[in-house]
């Protein structure tokens, strides 16, 4: 099991701020604060004026080991390197469609440090050769839309966006695009369709967006957090970044905690941080001293882990995958002893049944039936056969669909039905 490096043992989360260094400053969103207090736009200068080629930028990010922070954890530098070189239009799109229940870190980044995102986006666009980029943001995020727009406007005024930036010959334009209430637009191909003014329904891959994305042109879709950390990596170098975290999961990551916990919030931690130390010490434990029943470690798509499984677990991609779940977006949902897992299942399935885009039969029908059956059981009308039925429906939903929403519903359902089978018994008729 990966352990966090010794030099970090005993230190508090606020000593690991790479991305959230401006937390607590009154005008942290302002470009002036970003420039003065956070080395703002120094990385962009280093890239454009210091003679870094796009290859150099990609190699630096590759060397840092940064993995996509949206959920899938794919290496960011590698993703950039898939974009064909040479002339032709290319696009960079930031996925700010944060809609996974439990997850609120990207909102927090735009609240504290939107310029990190803007600067990271310009650098990433330079690396892949994109003259235009978008921030695709959920329509419900009225404040965040405003904050991003203001940051972009300030960056234009300061000459970090527009034609021939800092005399380097590199031109880049950025815009915000607001979604309209569809969770599935967080899936990259669904997001691209939505940006094209269509239904946000996912498409089969391949072709991957890096080859054929927005308007059929090469497109990179990156999460807010993955891009916002890029300026720090360029400024401080990949080796400095790798000092944080574990060997396979380097760096820090934002973790957001929700549910009945004393100090919910968004914390920056080095990957590999011990989960229970985080919950009990840094987050102050459960409200009212209640006992922990389960944790959903990576947003609602991640299979729940029992309290026992959480003991000795560390917060990094490998350890959580090893425990049969996933780190996902880093959203930790805490479930106390007095909440029935039958109703947790019903709540989760309600969400996925509502959000399935309906293209694939296993997903459309499967999420609907999992929701209906769990509701039925919750009312005390279920039987033992219903338990088997749920398990088999979930099995038939896995890996058979266009996108992973189907798996995102099936995996948590399977985990709850098997790990917490005893909790269902009192609800079953026989």
């Amino acid at each position: 099991m990966p352990v966090i490096k010794n030099e970090y043992q005993g230190r508090k989360p606020d000593e690991f701020r790479i991305l959230l260094g401006l937390e607590g400053y009154p005008d942290s969103r302002n470009i002036k604060t970003y420039i003065e207090k956070s080395n703002g736009y120094k990385a962009l200068e280093k890239v454009l004026k210091g003679g870094m080629s796009s290859e150099d930028v990609i190699n630096t990010v590759k060397a840092s080991g940064l993995r996509g922070r949206g959920g899938a954890g794919f290496p960011t530098g590698l993703k950039w390197s898939f974009v064909p070189k040479g002339p032709g239009e290319k696009y960079l799109i930031t996925n700010f469609d944060e809609g996974e229940p439990g997850t609120y870190k990207d909102c927090y980044i735009s609240e504290v440090t939107p310029h990190s995102l803007v600067e990271g986006k310009i650098i990433a666009s330079y690396a892949i050769g994109a003259k235009k980029s978008y921030i695709y943001i959920r329509g419900e995020f009225h404040n965040e839309i405003r904050w991003c727009q203001e940051a972009i406007k300030e960056a234009y005024a300061a000459g970090y966006l527009g034609e021939n930036i800092m005399g380097s010959g590199f031109t880049h334009h950025m815009d915000v695009y607001s979604g309209a209430g569809a969770y599935i637009c967080g899936e990259e191909t669904g997001l691209i369709s939505s940006l094209e003014g269509k239904k946000g329904q996912p498409k089969l891959k391949p072709p991957f967006p890096a080859i054929k994305g927005y308007l059929g042109k090469p497109t990179v879709v990156n999460n807010v957090e993955s891009l916002a950390v890029v300026p720090w990596i360029i400024n401080n170098g990949p080796e400095a970044y790798k000092k944080f975290g574990t060997e396979k999961s380097p760096g820090t990551k934002l973790f957001n905690v929700s549910g009945p916990i004393a100090k919910p919030g968004c914390y920056e931690l080095p990957l590999g941080y011990p989960l229970m130390r985080f919950i009990n010490e840094d987050c102050g434990g459960l409200i009212g001293g209640k006992k922990l029943k389960a944790i959903i470690p990576g947003g609602s798509s991640a299979p729940a882990l029992t309290a026992k499984e959480c003991e000795n677990l560390t917060l990094d991609y490998e350890a959580i995958a090893g425990a049969g779940s996933m780190l996902g977006s880093g959203a930790i949902i805490v479930i106390p002893e007095d909440v029935s897992m039958v109703s947790v299942l019903e709540n989760l399935m309600d969400f996925y049944a509502h959000e399935s885009c309906g293209q694939c039969t296993p997903c459309r029908e499967g999420t609907g039936w999992l929701y209906k059956i769990s509701k039925h059981i919750l009312k005390g009308k279920g039987t033992k056969t219903d338990m088997d039925r749920m398990y088999s429906i979930a099995n038939n939903m896995r890996g058979k669909t266009i996108c992973v929403l189907s798996d995102a519903a099936a995996d948590p359902a399977r985990a709850i039905v098997t790990k917490f089978a005893h909790e269902f018994e009192p609800y079953l008729k026989g």
Binding site: E98, G99, E100, P101, G102, T103, Y104, D106, C107, K132, R138, G139, E140, F141, H142, N143, D175, Y177, S178, G179, A180, G181, A182, Y183, S194, L195, E196, G197, K198, K199, G200, L215, N256, V257, S258, G259, P260, P264, G265, C266, I296, S300, A331, I333, V334, I335, V339, V344, N347, L348, D350, F351, H354, E355
Partner: protein, 176 residues
């Protein structure tokens, strides 16, 4: 009365040239219409086709897919309470129940309130649960008590411009 105000017409024209394709402007245009008129009617879609060359089929595809667009006239304030897992764990159902009860009670007493209540999916504020939106205003940690307080506060406010326009348009239509 023209179907879109001069300002809205200008906004729409701006969107049509802002993106790579005209079609990309459909989502922002629908947001803008809704911001001004509170909902999107069949007449609005016809006008988008006739006056701005957007295919009515393309517009309808978007309108019916995304939950944020309203296809019927709404009440002046939409009180949306997140009911997804983190908010649910923190008592979102009680907040929704309390709000519904209060509104029904007021209705029965002959003093209808200008609200609709919706349980919605995650609003991206899970640590400050239950999270809510009233139109575009975010309110967090909305316990049943705080929810009732918000009903009072908003009832005492002047109605939003879009709601007033929506009511005027409906009255004019009814007269015809």
């Amino acid at each position: 009365m023209p179907i879109f105000s001069p300002e809205l017409t200008k906004t729409i024209e701006g969107f049509l040239t802002r993106y790579e394709t005209k079609r990309s402007s459909i989502l922002p245009i629908l947001h803008a219409i809704q911001d001004e008129k509170d909902w999107i009617s069949d007449e609005d879609i016809d006008a988008l086709e006739k006056n701005f060359g957007l295919s009515a089929v393309d517009v309808r595809e978007v309108l019916t897919f995304y939950t944020m667009y309203r296809q019927t006239p709404p009440k002046p304030y939409r009180f949306e309470v997140c009911k997804s897992i983190s908010c649910w764990l923190m008592g979102a159902n009680d907040t929704i129940k309390t709000l519904r009860h209060e509104i029904e009670k007021a209705e029965k007493e002959g003093r209808p309130l200008p609200f609709e209540i919706h349980g919605v999916e995650c609003l991206g504020q899970c640590g400050y649960a239950p999270s809510t939106l009233i139109n575009k205003d975010r309110h967090n940690n909305v316990t049943p008590e705080k929810a009732l307080q918000l009903l009072k506060e908003y009832s005492a406010k002047e109605l939003p411009k879009a709601a007033v326009l929506c009511a005027t348009n409906l009255a004019a239509k009814a007269q015809k």
